[in-house]
């Protein structure tokens, strides 16, 4: 990592800050620098990707020996003042300054995001200066594919897309298939509501992803790859396309990469609005130009994927962690996190929380630390749990964890034990005013709208579940409805064809588990529910 220039303003130019007015601010800064002249002329102004505290945008980071920091919520009118601060002529804007010791930043440990907000995402020269592609070149010159896979296995990295399958094992499975064509695919179809980690990586540091994907391709022996990005991310697509073009022009993609005999063609495939395409087999169907419907596994894509050939599918965050793992070694990465969940994880923290944005922390960090210390709790919230009622993780496949369990460490196993899951990393904080049956209904609506319609439990079962949840959300349910709700949740979970259907009942089941009294209170005759335990599966309706 190169030392920051002595005087530099890094302006966030990712989607979040753009929508908050980053474009006008950037223009105002350039104009102010011209007008101020003198000391301000020495201040470099550089557009960068996500500076992480998205809820307080537009953000600008100041690199200045001794007095750097991030300035939040800036208006174009404040541009001259900020330049004056940068040039050391003023001590203004102190209210908007967040130092590196600010709790949102202090506990974070950027690995995947190490270049985010530092590198100019539109410049390959800047990326190269930061060391990007260095590991690809080293690996091609010095390592065998087996050695690369060995480091990934040692790192203990697990898939960051949701299921948490060991990445090294997946790479081995693809690499050890009988000789022939192989493909690599990056799943950038980040569809979970409340998740924006992958978008930020694509918008902020696309060359890192390309490097990770190229290393993966080398490690499994693939010469053709795809990045499947959802169409809802136009800026991410634009920057990825540009980065691919730049990498091809520099000989870092294409034939004979970096003077080696390794060839790799990468193409972008843009989705068209289908959440289910985040499921591996549906994604492959979509890349092949078909309806994005899943098929039964086995055979797994690692054995039979694109056009029947072995195909490695990894998510953006997984691949973006690879360059650092190769650089520092698998053991370095494996030393972070917990026994079963190694390394760091990026979370998209949002909802009823003071500091919303991207958070990268070691696995095993407690929810309390993430939500209360880093996130600052619910604005105006009081008490030991900072006004938090529940934290939703894992999107429509996950669940709600009640405030009483905030000390849970965030790792794959702990979240699953609580009936939720890691998912891709969305973390939505809910305050006291949020009703849990309404939350469950919100997610079920999503699952109904996104069901592909192929198998009956998901196609028809989610529709029935939504009708039942309507009754609870509108306080007109009966005890028989509660029984039906649980039965049907179990059936849809056990019998749906793909992960979307199997996980669709999770938001219901987890809120039933932790907030059952809210469902009981929504029954027409709640007094029949006392004591609480009588509302089990065996209970019969009135």
């Amino acid at each position: 990592m190169t030392a920051p220039q002595s005087l530099q303003l890094r302006c966030c130019d990712a989607s979040g800050c753009r929508s908050a007015g980053a474009g006008a601010l950037h223009a105002a800064l350039l104009q102010a620098r011209d007008q101020l002249g003198g000391a301000a002329e020495g201040v470099a102004i550089k557009p960068v990707g996500c500076l992480r505290l998205c809820g307080r945008g537009p953000l600008v980071a100041l690199d200045r020996p001794g007095s750097g920091g991030i300035y939040a919520g800036l208006t174009p009118e404040q541009a001259p003042e900020l330049l004056a601060v940068a040039a050391g002529l003023s001590h203004g804007l102190a209210d908007q300054r967040l130092g590196p010791d600010h709790p949102f930043f202090a506990l974070q440990q950027p690995v995947v995001l190490e270049g985010c907000g530092r590198v100019d995402p539109t410049s390959i020269d800047d990326a190269l200066a930061m060391g990007t592609y260095g590991q690809l070149q080293r690996v091609l010159a010095e390592c065998t594919p087996e050695q690369v896979r060995e480091q990934v296995k040692r790192s203990g990295l697990r898939g960051r897309g949701g299921a948490g399958y060991p990445t090294g094992l997946k790479w081995d499975t693809v690499a050890l298939q009988p000789a022939g064509l192989r493909y690599v695919v990056c799943n950038a179809d980040e569809g979970d509501p409340g998740a924006f980690m992958d978008r930020s990586v694509l918008e902020s540091d696309p060359h890192r992803l390309i490097e990770g994907l190229a290393i993966a391709a080398y490690a499994v022996g693939a010469q053709q790859g795809y990045v499947y990005v959802r169409a809802e991310y136009p800026l991410a697509i634009e920057r990825l396309q540009l980065a691919l073009k730049q990498a091809r022009a520099r000989g870092l993609l294409g034939a004979g990469i970096a003077g080696s005999s390794f060839n790799l063609r990468l193409e972008v495939r843009v989705g068209a609005g289908a959440y289910v395409c985040g499921e591996e087999t549906a994604l492959l169907a979509s890349i092949q130009g078909q309806r994005g419907t899943p098929r039964p596994r086995p055979p797994f894509p690692a054995q039979s994927g694109l056009w029947g050939h072995p195909t490695l599918i990894n998510n953006v965050e997984t691949l973006a962690a690879i360059p650092a793992i190769i650089r520092e070694g698998g053991d370095w990465y494996g030393a972070m996190g917990t026994a079963g969940s190694k390394g760091t994880k990026v979370f998209a923290l949002s909802g009823a929380v003071a500091n919303t944005g991207l958070v990268e922390v070691p696995m095993g960090t407690s929810l309390r630390t993430v939500v209360l210390t880093i996130g600052g709790g619910v604005p105006g919230g009081e008490g030991p749990d900072g006004g938090v009622k529940a934290v939703q993780t894992g999107g429509p496949s996950g669940g709600c964890i009640p405030a009483a369990l905030l000390d849970t460490p965030v790792d794959y196993e702990s979240l699953r034990q609580l009936g939720s899951m890691m998912g891709s990393g969305g973390m939505v904080v809910m305050g006291e005013s949020t009703a849990m049956p309404a939350v469950a209904r919100h997610f079920m609506r999503f699952s109904v709208a996104e069901s592909c319609g192929k198998c009956v439990p998901c196609r028809a079962g989610t529709v029935q579940l939504l009708e039942l949840l309507d009754r609870f959300a509108e306080h007109r349910a009966s005890l028989a409805d509660l029984e039906r709700l649980e039965q049907l949740c179990g059936m849809v979970q056990a019998t749906s064809l793909c992960g979307l259907g199997q996980a669709a009942p999770n938001p219901v089941l987890s809120t039933l588990r932790h907030f059952r009294q809210e469902y009981q209170a929504a029954c027409r005759a709640p007094q029949l529910c006392e004591p609480l335990t009588s509302c089990s599966l065996e209970a019969k309706g009135p």
């Binding site: 309806r291 109904v448 439990p457």
Partner: protein, 239 residues
Amino acid sequence: MSVLTLTVDGIEVAVPAGSTLLAAVRAADAELPTLCHLDGLTPVAACRLCLVEVEGSGKLQPACATAAVEGVVIQTQTPQLREYRRMAVELFFAEGNHVCAFCVANGACELQDVAVAVGMDHSRFPYQYPQRQVDASHPLFALDHHRCILCTRCVRVCDEIEGAHVWDVAHRGAECQIIAGLDQPWGEVEACTNCGKCVDVCPTGALFDKDDTTAEKQPHRERPALLRRARDQQHWQNQ
């Protein structure tokens, strides 16, 4: 030809290598309902009725689309599986408009048979009464979408056996619908060869011969398997 030995509901059976679990279940003479599966067509594992428990695997597997493995032990009739099957059949009935009393396929309907087999006497889930269409534009046949269960046998037989690909599934989720051509009236689709294979394989009364009235449908669901065998093995039955 090598042989695999499996245990189905406690009975040991031998099937040729490359068989599916469904073949093993049939070899054991076990009753396992199916709706989307049809011999001779590529399995899609969509109706979920043939799910079985495979010992050592946490997940239920569709027998129609899962390869048999040496020594595997499967259960087809646990109380849990029976309950799931019954619920799936209830969901089928609740999502469409199935009225046996005046259906062309009454008595020759696989959905009806499956309902009897799983002991479904009513649906615990409310009927959705969807508003659907009837397409009677074809000179010989008609399609009543109310009775369609989206098994996609018609789509597959037309694509894989007849090679015309008149049918496909459009939209998604509960809006899914079988369409002809660019969602055109069937009778206007030039690709249709009037072969009637889609009518032959339809498990319900959704696709039917216009000459047939209530309870007169005579399906020929064996035809895809016969045609595939004729093609693959040069083996003709009617000679």
